[in-house]
Amino acid sequence: MNAEILDKIKEILAVILDVEKQGITAETYIIRSLGAESIDLLEVAVSLNSEFKVNITENDIFLIRLREQITEAEEQGRDTGKYLAKTLPFLPRSRIDEILKDLDGGPVLKVKDIVCYIDRAIK
């Protein structure tokens, strides 16, 4: 994982969500643990654009359509993991498998998902 990108994302989240940067790791849940709301995520999106100069699409970076996409895969009789690997290409397959096991706990978005999105967008 790109440590420099992670550090900048932690800084952005700390400022916008008014939390201690030291308490944020790659594994931190952004909505479930840090309490981010939709308005916060929009602010995070423009800050990421400003910091990294890459296009930010909220639906992708914040996994907003994740559950819809899972339903779409099921309705079409397709393998959910493969379907998500296509719709969310910035996430490694191991992370998609992790997400699919974690759905019952609430919003699955983690800091490392944003790092993956930015890392791919920069490349």
Partner: protein
């Protein structure tokens, strides 16, 4: 049962931009002449200008609204009088969020300045396309054409 609610803002209307002098991809310039107006109306004028720019760059295909104002400097105990130049610069954006520096100047002195965050939503049954698109596009055109004639 339909019920009408009357709200008295104390203003004769709520359009706080007289002219849009220039609108470009990353910036917008407007004007407003205030008459003994409380300073907070300067903030509202800037918010209206920013929302116009968001609509303009999205070709009036969505509804735009103010989400948040950060670091806004405003003079205390001051009434606004006379002509103000209003400037907006799009600093960063995502698909649905737009961050601006907006400021109001009088005689080249900054009177209000802030970071404004706007968002957009698609038209739907609450934000009706046929009503809002025509309204804001027409208003923008009117304010912009008016300044082009001079």
């Amino acid at each position: 049962m339909q019920q009408n609610i009357n709200i008295n803002t104390g203003l004769s209307d709520f359009m706080l931009i007289d002219r849009i002098v220039k609108a470009e991809k990353q910036a917008i310039h407007g004007q407003k002449t205030f008459s003994d107006s409380p300073a907070y109306l300067g903030i509202e004028a800037l918010a209206q200008l920013g929302a116009f720019h968001v609509r303009y760059i999205r070709r009036f295909n969505c509804h735009a609204f103010l989400l948040k104002i950060n670091h806004c400097q405003i003079p205390a105990h001051t009434k606004f009088n006379g002509e103000f130049e209003l400037f907006g610069t799009l600093e960063s954006r995502s698909t649905a969020a737009f961050s601006y520096t907006l400021l109001a100047k009088q005689n080249n002195i900054i009177k209000v300045k802030g970071e404004f965050l706007f968002s957009t939503v698609d038209y739907d049954h609450n934000f009706k396309k046929e009503k809002l698109k025509n309204h804001y596009q027409g208003l923008f055109s009117c304010l912009h054409n008016d300044s082009e004639k001079e």
